[in-house]
C-alpha cells in the first residue's frame, strides 16, 4: 500500500468523521426531538447524537459491561456457527465436487436450500430447538454451510483436468491426487466462500437476535435501544457490529495469507 493511498484513505475517513460531527452539532437543537413510535410519541430523542453524547453513552456501556458482554456473546455465536457450518459445508462440497454420483443425489437439496434465505428458517429452528443458543448457532451454521458447500464444490470442479491427468500418469492414486492437487487448488474458492459466509453470518445473527431478543447480545442491544429509543446506544451498537464484521474480515485475510504460505512450503 503506497503512501499516497494511505494518505488518501485517511483523508477520506477523516472527512467523513468531520462531516458527521459538524452535522450533529448543527442539528443539535434544530432537529425534531419528538418521534412517533407507532402508538405514541416519545420525547427527547437525539436523531443525530453529537460525538460528546456518543462518547458519554459509550463510556457507560463499556463500564456497565453491557457492550463487552454483548460483543462476546454475539461473536461467540457467529464463530461457533461459522465453524460448524464451514466444516459441514466444505466436507459436503468436496464430496459432491469429487464424486459425481454424490452430486446428483445432493443437487435438489442444495438447490432448495440455496434459494432459501437463512433467516426464513429462523422460526422453524425456534420451533425445533427452542429459544436459545442452539437455534441461533444452528441457523448461522445452516446459512454458512450452503455457501461453503458451493465454494468447495466449485473449487473442486474448477481444478484443471491437466493436473489430475499428469498426476495419474505419474502413478498417483485418487487419495493422493485429492490431497495434493485438488485440495490446494480448491483452497482459494473455499476460502473466498468462507469470507462471504462470515459476512452473511453477521447479518443473520443480528436479525435473529433482534427477533429473539435476550440479554446480552448485540441484537438485543439494538432492539432495546430501538424500543425506547436511545439513539446513541443504537448508533454505538450499529458501529460495533460494523467493526466486528471488519475485524472478522481482516482476520480472514490474515489467515488466508498465513495458510497460503504454509501451503507453498509443504507443496
Amino acid at each position: 500500500m503506497g503512501a499516497v493511498r494511505i494518505r488518501r484513505a485517511a483523508l477520506a475517513l477523516l472527512a467523513l468523521a468531520l462531516v458527521y460531527g459538524v452535522a450533529a452539532e448543527v442539528a443539535h437543537g434544530r432537529l425534531p426531538t419528538r418521534v412517533w413510535m407507532g402508538a405514541h410519541f416519545v420525547e427527547d430523542v437525539q436523531l443525530l447524537p453529537t460525538y460528546g453524547s456518543l462518547a458519554e453513552e459509550g463510556a457507560f456501556l463499556v463500564e456497565s459491561r453491557i457492550l463487552p458482554d454483548s460483543i462476546v456473546v454475539s461473536s461467540r455465536r457467529v464463530l461457533e456457527g461459522l465453524l460448524l457450518g464451514s466444516i459441514a459445508g466444505i466436507l459436503l462440497g468436496l464430496a459432491t465436487g469429487w464424486a459425481a454420483s454424490v452430486q446428483y443425489l445432493a443437487d435438489p437439496w442444495v438447490t432448495f436450500f440455496r434459494f432459501t434465505p437463512a433467516l426464513a428458517l429462523l422460526p422453524l429452528f425456534v420451533v425445533w430447538f427452542g429459544y436459545g443458543e442452539s437455534s441461533k448457532v444452528l441457523l448461522i451454521a445452516a446459512g454458512v454451510a450452503v455457501i461453503t458447500l458451493l465454494g468447495a464444490h466449485q473449487g473442486v470442479r474448477r481444478v484443471p483436468r491437466v493436473y489430475l491427468d499428469a498426476a495419474a500418469a505419474l502413478g498417483a492414486g485418487p487419495g493422493l491426487r485429492f490431497r495434493k492437487i485438488v485440495l490446494p487448488l480448491a483452497f482459494p474458492s473455499i476460502f473466498a466462500s468462507v469470507r462471504i459466509a462470515a459476512g452473511l453470518a453477521w447479518v443473520t445473527i443480528v436479525v435473529a437476535e433482534l427477533i429473539d431478543a435476550r440479554m446480552p447480545s448485540l441484537g438485543y442491544l439494538l432492539a432495546l435501544s430501538g424500543a425506547y429509543p436511545r439513539v446513541p446506544t443504537m448508533l454505538i451498537a450499529i458501529a460495533t457490529v460494523g467493526a466486528l464484521v471488519l475485524a472478522f474480515d481482516l482476520a480472514a485475510l490474515l489467515l488466508h495469507a498465513r495458510a497460503t504460505r504454509w501451503m507453498r512450503r509443504s507443496a
Binding site: 499516497v4 493511498r5 488518501r8 484513505a9 483523508l11 477520506a12 475517513l13 467523513l16 418521534v35 412517533w36 407507532g38 430523542v45 436523531l47 446428483y104 443425489l105 445432493a106 443437487d107 435438489p108 437439496w109 438447490t111 432448495f112 440455496r114 434459494f115 432459501t116 434465505p117 437463512a118 433467516l119 426464513a120 428458517l121 429462523l122 422460526p123 422453524l124 425456534v126 420451533v127 425445533w128 452473511l200 453477521w202 447479518v203 443480528v206 436479525v207 433482534l210 427477533i211 429473539d212 439494538l222 432492539a223 435501544s225 430501538g226 429509543p229 439513539v231 443504537m234 448508533l235 451498537a237 450499529i238 458501529a239 457490529v241 460494523g242 467493526a243 464484521v245 471488519l246 474480515d249
Partner: protein, 295 residues
C-alpha cells in the same frame, strides 16, 4: 446433447422425489406432528394459505364455528399461526407478490447505484483511493441493523423496509463491477483510448461490455441478498410479505406470542425457494444471452 439433458433431468427428478419420500419417512418415523409435520399437514397448510379466509356467512345464518369461538371460516388446517394470518387477511400469493415487488424495487434502484459506484472506483485510481475505505465501512454494517434507526427518521413507512434492500443490493453490486472495470476492462480501455475513443463512446462501447460479464455474474448474488434482506425486514417490521407470513403476523412484540406452525413455515420456505430459483433462472438466461461473445 438432448439425451444427456433428459438423463440429467430424470436423475434430478428422481432425487427430488427421493427427497420428498425421505421427508415423509422421517416425518412418520418421528411421529411428532408438532415438530415435523407430515406431508399432508403441509399440503393442508398450503391450501389454507392459498385460499385465504372464505366468504362471510349469509346474514341470518349462525354457523357452528362462530359459536365455538372461531370468528372466521377457512378450509384446511387450523393452527395458531394459520388463524392469525388468515385473520389478518394474509394469503400465500399476496405475501409472495408483495415480497417479490420489494425485491424487484430493491434491484431496480440498488443495482444502478452499486454499478455506478463500482464503475467510478474502477475507472479512476484517485476515486478508488478515496472511496474504497468508505465503501469498506459502509459494507461492514448489515443493512437490517439500520432498520430501527431509519424508522426514527422516516416513521413506519414502506421506505424503512425498502431502504435496507436497496442498500444491500447496491453494496453487493459494487465489487463485481469494480473488478470488471479494473481488471478485465483495463487492456481494452488502453486500446480504445489509443483509437481516440473518449467519454460516452468509451463508456457505452468499451467499459460496459468489457465489465458486463463480471457485473452480470454478481447479479445472481445480488438477487439472493435482496431476498434475504426483504424477508428479514418483513420479519421485523411489516404486516405483509413472506417474512410476515413466516413469523406469524402480528406486530413486533406480539410476534413471539403466536405459536409457530412448522407446516406454515415449510410452505413459506418452499415458496421462497421457488421464487428465488425462478429469479435466478431468469438472471442466468439473461446473462447467457447478453454474453454470447465470451470465449
Amino acid at each position: 446433447m438432448k439425451s444427456i439433458f433428459n438423463q440429467r433431468s430424470l436423475l434430478w427428478l428422481a432425487s427430488l422425489l427421493a427427497l420428498i419420500g425421505a421427508y415423509t419417512a422421517i416425518a412418520s418415523a418421528a411421529a411428532r406432528p408438532d415438530l415435523i409435520p407430515p406431508s399432508q399437514d403441509i399440503a393442508e397448510a398450503f391450501s389454507a394459505l392459498v385460499s385465504g379466509p372464505s366468504a362471510k356467512p349469509a346474514p341470518g345464518e349462525m354457523p357452528a364455528a362462530e359459536m365455538s369461538g372461531h370468528a372466521h371460516h377457512h378450509h384446511g388446517r387450523s393452527t395458531d399461526q394459520v388463524d392469525t394470518l388468515l385473520q389478518a387477511g394474509v394469503t400465500l400469493q399476496a405475501s409472495l407478490g408483495v415480497s417479490t415487488l420489494r425485491v424487484l424495487f430493491g434491484l431496480a434502484v440498488g443495482l444502478p447505484l452499486g454499478i455506478l459506484f463500482g464503475l467510478w472506483m474502477g475507472w479512476s485510481r484517485r476515486a478508488d483511493d478515496y472511496l474504497h475505505p468508505i465503501y469498506v465501512l459502509v459494507r461492514s454494517v448489515p443493512p437490517l441493523a439500520l432498520i430501527t434507526y431509519i424508522m426514527l427518521w422516516l416513521g413506519h413507512s414502506e421506505a424503512h423496509r425498502l431502504i435496507p434492500i436497496v442498500y444491500a443490493v447496491a453494496v453487493t453490486a459494487v465489487i463485481p463491477t469494480y473488478h470488471g472495470v479494473r481488471d478485465l476492462a483495463a487492456k481494452y480501455l488502453v486500446a480504445a483510448r489509443s483509437l481516440g475513443a473518449r467519454g460516452s463512446l468509451l463508456l457505452n462501447k468499451v467499459i460496459l461490455p468489457a465489465a458486463g460479464p463480471a457485473v452480470l455474474g454478481g447479479l445472481r448474488y445480488s438477487i439472493a441478498i435482496a431476498w434475504m434482506t426483504a424477508v428479514g425486514a418483513e420479519m421485523l417490521m411489516a404486516d405483509d410479505g413472506m417474512g410476515n407470513l413466516l413469523v406469524g403476523g402480528g406486530m413486533w412484540a406480539s410476534r413471539l406470542q403466536t405459536r409457530s406452525d412448522p407446516a406454515v413455515i415449510i410452505v413459506g420456505v418452499i415458496a421462497l425457494a421457488a421464487a428465488g430459483w425462478a429469479m435466478d433462472a431468469v438472471a442466468q438466461a439473461a446473462t447467457a444471452r447478453l454474453t454470447r461473445w465470451v470465449r
